[in-house]
């Protein structure tokens, strides 16, 4: 119940923060903290005593049961972790809002939190879809009101592109809804009932089954994003204000990942092996392609956008290969994919938050516009460096556990294709280290003049994130225990 209360509370607080005037900043940060603490308590209470797979905190609020509409909630180990991730990234993104921004930005950020919470706890497709769209709208306004150059155009592109993906999801679950009615004479939009291998393979014609799968995959892969449906990504990341970028990197990838592992995985029997091989290929292609593209970017923000997309390539690979092979490594690689989503959210939050401070203090976010800033801002540079190393998958930090599980787990499924993954990882390492060398180290770029380091509050923000990343990297079982239990309950 606590989670449902937290969710409704977040709705009220987000609404209220639009009317707070000058106090909006304080109010929104306080409410984000409140959310984070409530989520923390909830997760500790629910999963602290051991979790053995399945759905917990199920509640049902009937709205129109005759046509299948009811607000059903439920949380799994995976969604619990994602809820915690979204609470943290919202908090971080509020911390990096520019001081003199218009007050509505705080309300918009809190509204995305409402959307994220809502879609993660809904077990009913209609509400899932509503909250899925609720995330998009504040993001759109964040971009067109607070973004950088060409924000109108980029905002529109982002909205239309991702919305087209969402519409396919709508069509997909309408297909399910329809055929469920045809086969049983009942209307339901319940996820657990509809996403059921026996029902789908038994009662839906092949064409509509493929249509439904296609719809879901398009919707989720756009959000993830995966090659070739990623065109919204670089422009949007670059143009969005830093809080928006953090939400994009953590929150929107989270949505795509939740779609794959939370919604499609329970019905994993409906995938044909051809489709899975294709998905695995897409994942490998994304990883290699985005890594190479990222290497050629001069703008660090844009480069990290591609780095984020490349990290999501791992997720697609682990999803596809994890379903494909029925062997002992299945649990390892699937939980690795989910771990990767969560670790990636934290890591990207750290990178973009430090990059925001760099941008604010130096006025530049281009690799060649910086140079040697370690001399003037050692703490800030250290955090950026830590973020870069976490992002390239250094052991001891959160990024490693996911990548390790995936690389080791998928080996049996894809054999020598693993060398492409390794190629991607080497290129990834190269450009991360290259950025560190050019932007943070080397002789100081005297054109920047005197720049200041971060103050205590900013230090606390970054340090908190780094500690989280470090704890997840050193005590992965805090999270991995939940994920393996979740996967173990499904397969």
């Amino acid at each position: 119940m606590l989670m449902v209360i937290t969710f409704f509370l977040s709705m009220i607080l987000a609404f209220a923060s639009f009317f707070m005037g000058k106090k909006a900043r304080l109010f929104s940060i306080a409410s984000a903290w409140l959310m984070a603490i409530l989520v923390g308590i909830y997760i500790y209470m629910t999963f602290g005593g051991g979790y053995h797979g399945g759905i917990v905190s199920q509640y049902n609020f009937q709205i129109a049961p005759s046509i299948g509409i009811s607000f059903t909630t439920g949380v799994t180990g995976f969604t619990g972790a994602l809820i915690a991730l979204s609470a943290v990234i919202i908090l971080v993104s509020l911390m990096v809002v520019e001081k003199d921004s218009e007050n509505s930005i705080y309300g918009l950020i809190l509204s995305t939190e409402v959307g994220l919470f809502g879609l993660l706890i809904s077990r009913n497709f209609l509400f899932f879809y509503i909250f899925w769209e609720v995330v998009l709208i504040p993001m759109y306004f964040l971009i067109i009101r607070f973004g950088g150059a060409k924000r109108d155009r980029v905002g529109l592109k982002f909205f239309v592109y991702t919305h087209i993906g969402s519409v396919f999801i709508l069509l997909a679950f309408f297909t399910l809804y329809n055929y469920y009615y045809l086969s049983t004479g009942e209307f339901t939009l319940d996820m657990g009932t509809l996403m059921n291998t026996a029902f789908i393979t038994g009662h839906i014609p092949v064409f509509w089954r493929d249509f439904m799968l296609f719809g879901f995959l398009i919707g989720f892969l756009v959000k993830l994003p995966s090659f070739p449906v990623h065109s919204w990504l670089p422009d949007t990341y670059q143009t969005a204000p830093y809080p928006g970028t953090i939400i994009l990197a953590g929150g929107l990838s989270l949505m795509g990942g939740y779609g794959l592992f939370g919604i499609l995985l329970p019905a994993s029997g409906i995938f044909s092996s051809t489709l899975l091989y294709f998905l695995a290929f897409l994942g490998i292609l994304s990883l290699v392609y985005f890594s190479f593209v990222a290497m050629f970017q001069k703008d660090i923000k844009r480069m990290m956008a591609f780095a984020s997309a490349a990290a999501m390539g791992f997720v697609t690979i682990s999803f596809a290969v994890g379903i494909l092979e029925h062997s002992y490594t299945q649990v390892l690689e699937l939980s690795g994919g989910m771990f990767q989503i969560i670790a990636h959210g934290f890591i990207m939050a750290l990178i973009f938050a430090s990059l925001y401070y760099i941008r604010r203090n130096t006025g530049s976010e281009m690799t060649y516009g910086l140079g040697g800033i370690y001399r003037e801002a050692p703490l800030l540079s250290s955090f950026m460096l830590a973020g870069l190393f976490a992002s390239l998958g250094l052991p001891g930090l959160a990024g490693f556990i996911g990548e390790f599980s995936i690389v080791v787990g998928v080996y049996q499924g894809i054999t020598w294709w693993i060398f492409f993954i390794i190629l991607g990882m080497i290129v990834t390492a190269s450009y991360h280290v290259w950025v560190a060398q050019r932007a943070l180290y080397g002789p100081y770029n005297e054109h920047l003049g005197h720049i200041r380091d971060i103050n205590r509050k900013e230090f606390a923000t970054l340090c908190g994130l780094l500690v989280l990343i470090f704890v997840l990297g050193v005590f992965p079982n805090l999270l991995d225990g939940l994920l393996t239990a979740y996967v173990g309950g499904l397969i």
Binding site: G372, R375, P395, G396, I422, I426, V427, Q437, Y441, T484
Partner: protein, 634 residues
């Protein structure tokens, strides 16, 4: 739970936190805390040593880390030797570093990073699972990166740090695939019995049944992939390019990381997982032997032409690492004695190479970081104590008979002759050939370096005004000098038998045994003839083909940087980026196409009733016309 074994690497971790946080405010204390904490881990290592010896069997404790990967400590005799060596050398180097880094504004960061490095290295040595091993393995790689680039304002240093990280990363990822191969093969293995498939004690104790379960060839592939990781870290042949550049870092870093400890991690990995190599197909062990032996020769040739004092030492390190690797690779014939030989050379090498680097550091301080040996000369008179220590290191490196280097290295060369006489084939002859020629080159470049540095007249203004380092800073070095001189004589046979049971020194014909000694004499005389006098100045080799080949390091750097990085990776990246841009603008154009179509539709609805009326009329006429047309046609 035996706490001391864990404290071995936890003490320096505490040192990392403390020396950074306290050192920020009291710069002096940073070094003191770091040295103290590393000293404590020497104590912990000693306690563990006593405990495990009294225990009579290896110490193994593990806890779940995630899924079926466990974190824990595994301490057997190899581990004990390594932890004692690492913590001893690290303590000595930390003490010397307090002198070396005095006055540097960032020295608290430096000491924090060296503490972290020591923690990583000790953690690597004691860890009981390959994944945890890999974690510490990358941690030391990170520290190496940070410390090479410690003087971040030097473009060379940051470039070298980047190069070191990327090259070792290539090896590390091979290591990762090796783990993937083993994990996938063993995760369904019935004999697993609750162990993690990557647990080191499980792998080495059941290696023969594992080999028959997954096939000797598959295990060999995994072993070669592990060797790839070891080659990256220990800078063996194709991945050796990073160490010479890494000399841009502070000299204690070169001594600690790039001579005594981190670069031996690769050798340690092979020694640690020795049974995997031993029971897999023969090609795995042979690649260890041949890569090691070839590296020993190859790096030796490069060491002859370099003029940078630290780079000469760097190439000698690569070459000596090759000897250690080759010694382990000889195992099919000499058995586990290969580990004994390799590890003994590893420990002795750590002593004399740390000594050489630290004395080189003292020399560089007094010469204001002038590193070109051609401009030194005559330093023996200026700084007698330092150069005497330097000489002790040099003769140990050159394996002049009574020093430790002779005991540790000549055994390996003799063993390689045994290897040849057992197989009698040409391939089996190669290790001996490479290793013994390597001995000749070692003497040559060592004494070239020594004569250029120490004797003759000072050849630059800085060399004329060189001054001795304070004697208190040099005291820790005497411990190293002692081991370099007498370690071999005192410890050789007990050491060999500590690591493996029933090791005998290889007995081979006397005329073969003498060949390395003859080489030593020849090398020494050539060096004396050329560099003991000023004859070398009159030799002009700048047009000689072989000289240029060596000067350009066999064009390996050119291959990696100019060809692979700049002609392959970068153009591919540019091409992908262009594809991405055009794809992106294509999507944009589609979007604006849709928009302009929408605009067209909007313009038609302009609210002027006359226009609507005209459209209506035209539309109706067209419909009528079409209907009439269809009537005619039908």
């Amino acid at each position: 739970m035996f706490i001391w074994a864990w404290l071995i690497f936890i003490f320096p971790l505490i040192g990392f936190v403390l020396s950074w946080s306290i050192g920020r405010y009291r710069k002096m204390l940073g070094g003191v805390i770091a040295s103290f904490m590393v000293g404590l881990s020497l104590l912990a290592s000693y306690e563990t040593f006593l405990y495990v010896n009294s225990l009579g069997h290896p110490l193994y404790q593990s806890y779940q880390w995630f899924y079926n990967i466990k974190i824990g400590v595994y301490v057997d005799h190899i581990t004990l030797i390594m932890v004692l060596m690492v913590s001893l050398v690290s303590t000595i180097i930390h003490l010397f570093t307090m002198y070396y880094m005095k006055g540097d504004p960032g020295r608290h960061v430096f000491f924090a990073e060296t503490s972290l490095f020591t923690a990583g290295m000790l953690g690597l040595v004691v860890s009981s699972n390959l994944v945890v091993f890999f974690l510490f393995w990358e941690l030391v790689g990170l520290c190496s990166y940070l410390l090479i680039g410690f003087w971040f304002f030097k473009p060379n240093a940051t470039a070298a740090a980047k190069k070191a990280f990327i090259v070792t990363r290539v090896g590390d990822l091979l290591f990762l695939i090796g783990m993937a191969v083993i994990y996938n093969a063993l995760v369904g293995y019935p004999g697993l019995g609750g162990n993690s498939p990557l647990s080191i004690p499980f792998l080495i104790n059941n290696a023969s049944s594992i080999a028959s379960y997954m096939g000797a060839t598959n295990l060999g592939i995994a072993a070669v992939l592990l060797l790839g990781g070891a080659a990256g870290k220990s800078s063996q042949f194709p991945l050796h390019v990073w160490i010479p550049d890494a000399m841009e870092g502070p000299t204690p870093v070169s001594a600690l990381i790039h001579a005594a400890t981190m670069v031996t991690a690769g050798v340690y990995l092979v020694a640690r997982t020795y049974n995997i190599f031993f029971y897999s197909a023969p090609f795995a062990m042979y690649s260890v032997a041949i890569i090691g032996a070839f590296t020993a020769l190859f790096a030796g040739t490069l060491g002859i032409v370099v003029n940078d004092l630290k780079r000469i030492l760097a190439y000698s390190t690569i070459s000596q690492l090759g000897y250690m690797m080759a010694a382990i690779g000889l195992a099919p014939v000499i058995g586990a004695a290969g580990i004994s030989f390799g590890m003994f050379h590893l420990v002795i090498h750590a002593m004399f190479k740390a000594l050489l680097f630290l004395t080189a550091g003292a020399i560089l301080i007094s010469l204001m970081d002038l590193r070109d040996v051609r401009q030194m000369g005559g330093l023996w008179r200026k700084m007698p104590v330092t150069i005497t220590l330097f000489l002790i290191g040099s003769i140990a490196l050159a394996a002049i008979p009574p020093t430790s280097g002779f005991y540790s290295k000549d055994t390996i060369i003799s063993a390689s002759w045994l290897y040849f006489s057992h197989y009698g084939s040409f391939q089996a002859f190669l290790p001996w050939l490479f290793l013994s020629l390597g001995a000749l080159l070692t003497v040559l470049y060592t004494f070239r370096m020594f004569f250029l540095v120490a004797v003759g007249k000072p050849r630059s203004h800085l060399a004329e005004h060189a001054k001795e380092a304070p004697i208190i800073a040099l005291i820790p070095l005497f411990i190293l000098a002692f081991f370099s001189l007498f370690g071999g004589y005192l410890f050789q046979v007990p050491f060999y038998n500590y690591l493996a049971t029933g090791v005998t020194l290889p007995s081979i014909p006397a005329y073969i045994e003498d060949i390395p000694l003859i080489y030593v004499a020849i090398g020494f005389l050539v060096a004396l003839y050329l560099y003991g006098t000023s004859r070398w100045k009159s030799i002009d080799l700048s047009r000689n083909f072989f000289y240029n080949l060596l000067k350009w390091k066999y064009y390996m750097d050119v291959l990696y940087t100019r060809i692979i990085a700049e002609r392959i990776i970068l153009p591919v990246s540019a091409a992908f980026s262009t594809v991405e841009n055009s794809y992106n603008s294509g999507v944009d154009r589609t979007g604006s196409g849709a928009l302009s179509f929408g605009t067209l539709l909007r313009r038609m609805q302009d609210g002027v009733v006359e226009n609507y009326f005209i459209v209506l009329i035209i539309g109706i006429s067209i419909v009528f016309l079409l209907v009439e047309l269809f009537k005619v046609v039908i």
